[in-house]
């Protein structure tokens, strides 16, 4: 997650989240394929404006494209329906299941694109600050969340070390869940100790709820313009297409 210089990055994070959630709601409430496709296109425009380089974007979309194909195949091959198009063994593709598959897979992909648009253009610190100011998120909870973010790279490093150690000592587990526990147990015990230490350090720096703010996102006219335009567009697509 990084902030960049794209136009979308300048929108107030809370307003952006609200807008995108609205588009998602519209997606859920429609069962008409043209509308879903139009909204997918709309989300694609959003991603294209997110400021990521095309190559990186395509690379990150690969797993989701696979998910798209998988969802499509599942819904198409195992869905119910009357008009049979093709059968092979257990697989039975009908006209209805095909239409349903298109709808669900497109909807899912539109969700993914909208989420990526948000993640790509939002700095986590600004996002949390915006939640404090615009959505009245309790301060203690918000700072707890920000502190938690710092654990992600720490976890990544720890997991790498544990995997290396398992390789060196030639420990292989028979079941995947054994690997999961072997890795997560030391991870959680150490992080409980660390989070306690961080909490003490924060208290020692006189953490309190009455405070001023270094990062203070405000809602500007442009945020409202963005909100209105997007909501109008999504609603009219839903109603009139």
């Amino acid at each position: 997650m990084q902030e960049n210089d794209s136009l979308l990055a300048r929108i107030n994070p809370a307003v952006k989240l609200g807008t995108l959630v609205y588009v998602m709601l519209v997606l859920i409430t429609t069962s008409r394929l043209p509308v879903t496709f139009a909204l997918l296109l709309f989300a694609a425009v959003g991603v294209a404006c997110s400021g990521w380089r095309l190559s990186i974007l395509l690379l990150r979309l690969i797993p989701y494209s696979l998910l798209f194909l998988l969802t499509f195949w599942m819904m198409a091959a195992f869905g119910e329906g009357e008009t049979e198009l093709w059968t092979f063994g257990w697989f039975r593709i009908t006209e209805e299941s095909l239409a349903h598959a298109w709808l669900v897979a497109t909807r899912m992909f539109a969700f993914v694109l909208l989420s990526i648009t948000f993640v790509a253009t939002t700095d986590p610190t600004r996002f949390v600050m915006s939640l404090i100011h615009q959505c009245r998120l309790p301060v203690r909870l918000a700072y707890g969340f920000l502190t938690g973010l710092r654990f992600i790279p720490i976890f990544r490093q720890a997991i790498r070390t544990i995997r290396q150690a398992r390789r060196i000592r030639q420990q292989r587990s028979i079941w995947p869940w054994q690997t999961f526990f072997a890795i997560s147990l030391p991870l959680f015990t150490t992080s409980i100790i660390r989070s306690e230490r961080i909490a003490i350090a924060m208290e020692a720096r006189q953490f309190r709820v009455e405070r001023t703010y270094y990062v203070r996102p405000v809602v500007t006219r442009w945020d409202l313009v963005f909100l209105l335009m997007t909501v109008t567009l999504a609603t009219s697509l839903r109603l009139f297409l």
């Binding site: 150690a165 398992r166 060196i168 020692a204 009455e210």
Partner: protein
Amino acid sequence: MWCRNLTVRYPDQDCAVLNDLTVSLRQGETTLLIGPSGSGKTTFLHVLAGLIPETIEAEVSGEWRADGTVGMLFQQPDDQFCMQTVGAEIAFSLENRSIPRDEMEGRIRTVLKRVGLDLALTTQIAGLSGGMKQRLALACVLALEPDILLLDEPTAQLDPHGRRLMMELIEELHHDPNVTLVLIEHQLEECVTFADRVLVFREGQLRLDGSPLEVFEEKREELIRHGIMSPLLYPYTLETIPLTVATARFLNNPPVARRPVANETTFDLTDVTITHGKRVILDRISLTASAGEWIMLVGRNGAGKSTLLETLAKLLPAQSGTIKLFQTPLKKWRDRTFYQQVGFVFQQPEFQFLKQTVLDELTISCTSPTPGQLNNALQYYRLADVAGQSPLALSLGQKRRLSVATMLLERKAVLLLDEPTFGQDAETAAQLVEVLRRARAAGTTLIMVTHDMELVHRYADRVVVIGEKHIQFDGTPDELFRNESLLEHNQLIRPLSVRYQQREEVKHHAGKRFTARAH
């Protein structure tokens, strides 16, 4: 700032950590707290900082008071931050004090400058070195504009270079008449010179109280009797210490005699290039190691020492060149047989344990363990008392011993170690060295990354300096310590004993007394 009859007990313990403590500290004074671990020094600071009993649960009785704002710096550089970037982190301190937004930018730059960090405000904290993190943490505490500054072993987790910079900063703060400093530190050499007062803690009580001269000169015998570290040179300096003092004899001790190593080659590297993504870490390096040789890798932070170790351990692939172990390229070794020959001790021991008890941990380390062999190992590594405990519940020193034990139960041809003595106390480090010396005598090649130059001086057969993607030096420690520009360039510091011996040598050659000069 004072306390009277202060007693503190943690909920899950029977004895009090602090027992009937009465002491008062004067404004502008710098106080050094020493004593064995578990003697209540940190608890005392926590009380002064107002963390006990509000944040940390404990039973407290007695009276105490601290006049003015209190700031506290902790031991772990990584565990003091809650934001992502340098600017936001310092701003967190200012926000807590309700400083208006317009003033923040200026104040942030002021404190950053004060601790000697020249960073953009948007720099990610995760990418900083330990030393820089600790200086940033100090900047955050200074942003509180504290009248009283409590420092809990601020340099214990830093490499020598970071430690030196931190000590300079602390000494600067000592000269600020408005700041009262209270300092716990094991790095006594530097801080006795400026401390106004030393308090010695033992078993929750104040045992000695006086000026550094009173404590370390007059009561030195008493400290030694209780196993409390005292500074090596104080009250003398390197220039003025007389030969009759025990310390001088210790410093004058030559390193252990190095036996000739066997001719059998273990690792053999030719033109090895290692990259991380597109960035070249090491560029066409060549290195040969022999059986029974103790090689130490030194260099700056991020020079690629750990990366080299990981490559040797077959954990990272080399981009080009050949690495051979016993004349067979690494790629042709099968994991199973390879890791019977090569062991690896990680920097953080807690992540290399795989089992629920210490005994199990040892059991999976040998191919066919016998109870006798396991018992011997438990005795040898002094883990018998904790055999049934979880490895994660051990003390730092025990964890380190166990991590080495798991690698050395079966004889290995090569043992790779990533800063095994880092953050350990002197006693644990000494035990570790003893274990490693025996392994070396049995013919194991030891390749070890370290920042401890005293260790290099005393035990290394060969020292390899890594910097700027190349091997800058490969030879004996003696040669390295004579090469001034090389040391300077790689941020290496000659250890005290080498400095002393070199000085003695100069005196000897001059044939007359060397006139003492302030350093």
